[in-house]
């Protein structure tokens, strides 16, 4: 997956778990929680969906890497580049 594809994959997951939000307005470098109503259970949903859809395991110690869209793409790129 390319960076663009990874970014879209994350946006698709967010759209599913936060269906009231306008994901087209998300700023890549701003923390997701500052831009939308997301709590810790929602972040666990992101982790679960990455596991289900891409067989990617995000250890708890790395959850902070998913704070923004840009940091998520950067963190996930090595894991998803061959998928």
């Amino acid at each position: 997956m390319t960076q663009v594809q990874i970014r879209q994959a994350i946006l698709d997951i967010i759209a599913d778990i936060a269906p009231d939000e306008d994901t087209t307005a998300i700023k890549d470098d701003v923390r997701l929680r500052e831009q939308m109503d997301l709590d810790s259970m929602d972040f666990l949903d992101i982790v679960m969906e990455l596991r289900k859809r891409y067989n990617v395991e995000v250890p708890e110690a790395d959850y902070m890497q998913l704070a923004s869209l840009a940091s998520s793409v950067k963190y996930l790129e090595p894991m998803l580049k061959d998928k």
Binding site: I17, A18, P19, D37, M41, L44, D45, M48, R51, K52
Partner: protein
Amino acid sequence: MSSVSRVVITGIGLTAPNGNTLAEFRHSLLSGKSGVQAYSTRYMGAVLAGVCNFDELRYQKKKELRRGTRAGSIAIYCANEALKDSGIAWDKTDRSRVGVYVGVTEHGNVETENEIAAIKEYNYDTKFWSHHHNPRTVANNPAGEVTLNMGIVGPHYTIGAACAAGNLGFIQGLQMLRLGEVDLALAGGVSESIHTFGIFASFKSQGALATHADPTKASRPFDRDRNGIVVSEGGCVYTLERLEDALKRGARIYGEIVGYACNSDASDFVLPNPERQSQCMGAALKKAGLVPDDINIINTHATATKLGDIQECLAIRSLFGACKNVHINNTKSFIGHAMGAAGALELTGNLPAFEDGIVHPTINVDNLDPDCELPNLVLNEPKRIDKVRYILNNSSGMLGINSAVIVKRYDA
């Protein structure tokens, strides 16, 4: 405040398979409109069910719907509708003095079945089991979701009482008001049971799941050819207040809960016990200071099982068999068995009789079972009677739990 505070119904919110407001529901009950339809459930395929079609997004965001349960969503809809109907100034209400008491037949089966089906796709690897499972399946979920949605910080819990639960929700609300624990009770019952295949499969294995070529004819209590239960979802929540509080704010009063009782058969897991049911209704009459012939409408629990209907008829006959004023009906013939919501919806569908003087019928009785003959059983067509002053709802459930609630017309 005295221990015998009078408690009145000041707001009603409901969703039934044939109506999403009391007016719609009542209209369906007087016009013979069933809410039973063809339905499909996991593993079993085609079954029949009573399905609700309320506006889920009226009081919830899409994310709340996704996060929560169907029972929670039904409870939220009903509680908000009841509050709106009551005219209570919510922004001026001390929400630490509001209690939420929701009767349920069962809770958690839906989510557990969903999760098992989901991890089956991953070869039963439990790392795919959702972190939402526990908050969705804790037994207080439907009541707790109401408090989250409405910002209520008083007590909340569910009352697990099989199919007697709707009445038990009302009783709990009344008791907490009388104890002074709360000033407003949001009380009633809900059912999400059509979303669990297990309830259908279990009734089928028990030989108690209704079938009929015409879904609207499938639920037929008291009919000779009845063949079991139609499983339904639904909910009904009241705002209950102490009479003095309701009068102070000039509330519309639907009725006063004057009698109630709950007891146990202690005789069988599933087969109702007529003697205990009769004792339960008798205890409710005694609490209300009434004699049997004071009751104008008895709304029966009958679910259209062969034996269950007969057992209830025995109970009613033993107590009310000689009564002239009592009229008897059944609501499941329209909506199927709404489980934890059943008693609550069934009582509520009769409350407009205080104003219109009409007893809604029991439909789908083509050939009355001689073992189900009761005095003034209102069959197939509504019946106008003289002034309705007292309505009794009888509900019972598995493990031998019985509940009866008596509501009195409120005359200022």
